[in-house]
């Protein structure tokens, strides 16, 4: 008894209806405003709405303009040479398309991730053509890896390389090409089941810790919302549409505002002192802190980054960069809080 095609489109649980988990929602919004911040990692217990939030984000984001027919969803304004499809000439008509949120499942083959020889066309027409993989589909959008800590090492290596360069280089089955692959990496997982490699950890701009809410009223609110949604998804989403619009507008306004948000020298100094106090490796900590604070200020509608913004975003942008004594009892969040108290004293 297959349902009709129309009934298949059950609307996803709306982003605005997620109860609690403010840090995770804030991090996702920041990544939506400024993709350059470099990904969001969500670590925490099961059944805390990690997957829900990320899938909801896809539905929330305003559609983007992209070159029609381009498998890499190129920006019509981008230089055509960077993309094998657009470089082949022809008119670049643009159309509106939803921002891609692509699932990268555990155990995905390299072929599927990178792309491979298009078997259908090779067998059917004897043409050597490239069949884009998940990285191509995720271009300009989000690449979501659930249980990212269990991802196989060879895929991690591959992702590190692509995430760093924004370009996917394919050299296989006689194919040789490069295509743009800029995406926001979103990972979720449960640290009980294994640690993430430090190299991959460092690539994430923001790291959130989510825990199951312990107080009963919050739990009841979560279950109520979910129950209401499952009873009648369409009606629930319709009721939430106003809130969704508000968040969407906030993202759009923040994107417009972002280039104008000033980062005063005082804020940069604060960031540097904070990173020094924590002993983070390299300069990625300061850079991310500055970028995320700017995106946060843009979301708030502020003109400049203030101490308040830095204070709010520092735990998420720094806690995964601390040089770890792997068995240090005090959690990294506590260490960031301590340093914050020192620097802002």
């Amino acid at each position: 008894m297959p349902p009709a095609a129309s009934s298949l489109r059950v609307p996803t649980f709306p982003f605005s209806a997620i109860v609690g988990q403010d840090e995770m929602r804030q991090a996702l919004l920041i990544a939506a405003v400024d993709p350059v911040v470099g990904g969001v990692l969500v670590f925490g217990d099961r059944g805390t709405g990690k997957s829900t939030a990320i899938r909801a984000l896809a539905a929330l984001l305003p559609p983007m303009r992209a070159v029609a027919g381009c498998p890499y969803s190129c920006d019509p304004g981008s230089p055509a040479e960077a993309c094998p499809h657009c470089a082949s000439g022809g008119p670049r008509r643009s159309h509106k398309t939803p921002v891609p949120v692509v699932d990268l499942p555990l155990g995905a083959t390299e072929d599927r991730v990178v792309g491979t020889l298009d078997l259908e066309r090779a067998l059917g027409a004897g043409v050597k053509a490239f069949e884009p993989g998940l990285l191509a589909r995720a271009n300009r959008g989000f690449l979501y890896i659930d249980e990212v800590n269990l991802l196989e090492d060879h895929l991690v290596d591959l992702l590190l390389d692509v995430a760093a360069s924004g370009v996917n280089t394919v050299e296989r089955e006689g194919l040789s090409l490069r295509h743009p692959a800029r995406f926001v990496l979103v990972g979720s997982g449960n640290p009980e089941e294994g640690e993430l490699r430090p190299q991959l950890l460092d690539r994430f701009g923001l790291a959130c810790e989510v825990v199951t809410p312990r107080d009963i009223p919050t739990r009841i609110a979560v279950v109520r919302a979910r129950d209401a949604y499952e009873r009648d998804p369409a009606a629930f989403c319709a009721a939430q549409e106003g809130e969704e619009k508000k968040i969407r507008k906030r993202i759009l306004l923040a994107r417009e505002r972002l280039p104008e948000v000033r980062v005063p020298d005082a804020a940069l100094e604060r960031a540097a002192r904070l990173c020094l106090a924590l002993g983070t490796d390299g300069l990625r900590g300061e850079l991310t802190l500055m970028r995320t604070a700017r995106a946060l200020a843009a979301l708030d509608g502020a003109d400049a980054v203030t101490d308040e913004h830095i204070r709010r975003i520092a735990p998420a942008s720094l806690r995964h960069r601390l040089r770890r004594n792997p068995l240090d009892e005090s959690g990294s969040t506590a260490r960031v809080e301590r340093a914050l108290a020192e620097v802002f004293a």
Binding site: E192, G194, I220, L327
Partner: protein, 573 residues
């Protein structure tokens, strides 16, 4: 009323609920050995489904194209044009997918199933199915928690059938059969319904009381309540049944008992009876002073007996061990294909896709000569898989935690485990820790590379008592063999002074204990496990004898400190 229905009755209620709404309730984990009881439950479920509902069984080693859909290679080659086929999940839309041997499910497949359950779609086709995970795992093997957490029910049929007497097997079928008729009406409201004003609130309170952390559980329970109430008013017994079915099997703790209900102090824990006995005095619906207590008792009575025993004895290790299964399974695949190369498929595994890929560009040229065959594959095109063995090492520490010096030695061992783990963090190796003391050995830390778990496991490690060396070695060998079976490379590090004085039976006696220890040590050699014996005693040759019997390296480190020890282990293995 809620006189502790038998597990079988609850299992059948779950089957009925599931049949009515497979996707809404997402499915069930069914823990049972293969056999008549399990088959009967599956038959029940199947019988309760609407006729024509899809029912698919997941083959153990299903690939992506089979699961999610893709190119149908055979049809494509025959037709000469691409033929797509729906994957198994899309075929099962609206119905049930049964996963046998779910405890062995590869992590990749589990995550695909989880994503499909969440979204209800697979590759833009509807795939709204319920999932039945058949868990046949031995003691420590369990289903991936990421998947189990999404399913409404956890049904343990392993006690059903064997509860009546001592003999299990043949009794099962008839026992269940006789339990049936009177079980039938009990589930859905045989009782006068006390109205429940706020089912969601009570479910959340219950979940909290029983230490169910995941919010998916009360969400699913709320759905069960709605299904039970069938759009009518929600009664307390609906909440009770839902909590019993959904929340009880997930309990991680017991709520403190009210002191004024002494008659409830003996819930049926050792022997949940097959037929509900007249136990109505446990919770009389006529005098509910605090509305939750009645439900609370009913839920408590429904906690599976083995889980209840664990909860009562304050053991929480089970949950921790469960949480790690996914990680283990992910790391456990031996010989992952990492590519393909030209070669002879009679000796190695053929990589069909790569072969076709290699042949594909030449088809136009080759067909020019002979046109009868739709695809011309030449020997040069044949590709075989390159499998890469995991070189991951799992170091099994087997630590003598006995006697007076134990505390110190234990601290060293803990330190060494932590140091090695810190390296494993970079090298992707794992460690495990077996401790032996007093009457026997205990797996303190199952193989892990998680710092979080290691810290927790190590912090609660006690010391003192006799030296059951044989039991310790036995346990370490069992862990090491399990590690090897899962595709990783085990190594045993035994820290002891070698002076065994407790035999396997738990009785004292130096001579017998020593002989047994040497016997156990020979098993290490027989199994071909690499081992290192660190002699922590200051004198005596007992440990050296054990090392010789094991075929192990021997290292005398009477005053090892953690750094030295981990360096020695690294050098030796």
């Amino acid at each position: 009323m809620n006189a502790a229905p038998s597990p079988w009755t609850d299992a059948r209620s779950a089957a009925r609920l599931l049949a009515a709404d497979p996707h809404g309730l997402r499915g069930a984990v069914v823990r049972a050995a293969p056999g008549p009881v399990r088959e009967r439950w599956l038959d029940d479920l199947r019988g309760a489904l609407q006729p024509g509902t899809p029912w698919r069984r997941l083959p153990p080693a299903i690939g992506d194209d089979g699961l999610l859909g893709g190119l149908d290679l055979a049809a494509t080659l025959a037709a000469g044009r691409p033929v797509a086929r729906a994957g198994l999940l899309a075929q099962a839309d609206g119905g049930i997918v049964v996963v046998p041997m779910a405890e062995r499910l590869p992590a990749g497949t589990a995550s695909r199933l989880a994503a499909a359950l969440d979204t209800g779609t697979v590759a833009d086709r509807p795939a709204r199915f319920g999932l039945i995970l058949l868990d046949e795992g031995e003691a420590d093997e369990t289903v991936a928690e990421a998947l189990a957490d999404r399913l409404a029910f956890r049904i343990d049929l392993s006690g059903v059938g064997s509860d009546a007497g001592t003999d299990a097997g043949s009794d099962a079928g008839s026992d269940v059969g006789s339990g049936d008729p009177e079980a039938e009406p009990s589930a859905a409201g045989a009782d006068t319904t006390a109205a429940e004003p706020d089912p969601v609130g009570s479910l959340c309170a219950l979940a909290e009381a029983f230490g169910v952390a995941s919010l998916r559980a009360p969400i699913l329970a709320a759905r069960v309540v709605r299904a039970l109430a069938a759009d009518g008013p929600v009664g307390r017994d609906h909440v009770t049944v839902a909590a019993r079915l959904v929340l009880a099997p997930r309990a991680t703790r017991l709520p403190p008992r009210e002191p004024d209900s002494p008659e409830a102090a003996a819930p049926p824990r050792e022997d949940p009876p097959a037929d509900p006995p007249p136990e109505a005095d446990v919770a009389d619906p006529a005098i509910p002073d605090a509305p939750d207590d009645v439900v609370l008792e009913a839920v408590r009575a429904a906690i599976p007996p083995n889980l209840l025993d664990q909860l009562l004895s304050g053991q929480q290790r089970l949950a921790a061990a469960r949480a790690g299964r996914v990680g283990q399974a992910a790391a456990a695949r031996t010989g992952r294909p990492v590519g393909s190369r030209r070669g002879d498929p009679r000796r190695e595994r053929l990589d069909l896709l790569a072969t076709l890929r290699a042949a594909a560009p030449w088809q136009a040229v080759r067909r020019a000569g002979q046109t009868t065959r739709p695809i011309v594959v030449r020997r040069d095109d044949l590709r075989i898989r390159i499998l890469r063995q995991r070189t991951e090492t799992t170091t099994v520490f087997c630590v003598d935690a006995s006697g007076s010096a134990a505390l110190e030695r234990l601290a060293e061992a803990k330190g060494a485990v932590e140091l090695l783990l810190a390296e494993a963090y970079v090298r992707r190796d794992r460690v495990a820790l077996v401790a032996f003391r007093g009457g026997g050995a205990e797996l303190v830390l199952p193989p892990t590379r998680s710092l979080t778990r290691a810290k927790r496991g190590l912090s609660g490690l006690p010391g003192g008592g006799g030296t059951p060396l044989a039991s310790g070695i036995d346990a370490a060998v069992a862990v090491a063999i399990g590690v090897r079976r899962s595709g990783s490379r085990p190594a045993i590090v035994l820290l002891t002074d070698g002076r065994a004085n407790v035999a396997r039976s738990g009785e004292g006696g130096r001579a017998r204990a020593g002989a047994e220890a040497l016997q156990a040590a020979r098993a290490v050699r027989a199994a071909g496990l690499p081992a290192l014996v660190v002699d922590t005693g200051s004198r005596g040759e007992e440990a050296r004898a054990v090392a010789d019997a094991m075929g192990a390296r021997y290292l005398k480190l009477p005053r090892a400190e953690a750094g030295q020890l981990s360096a020695a282990v690294r050098a030796a293995l």
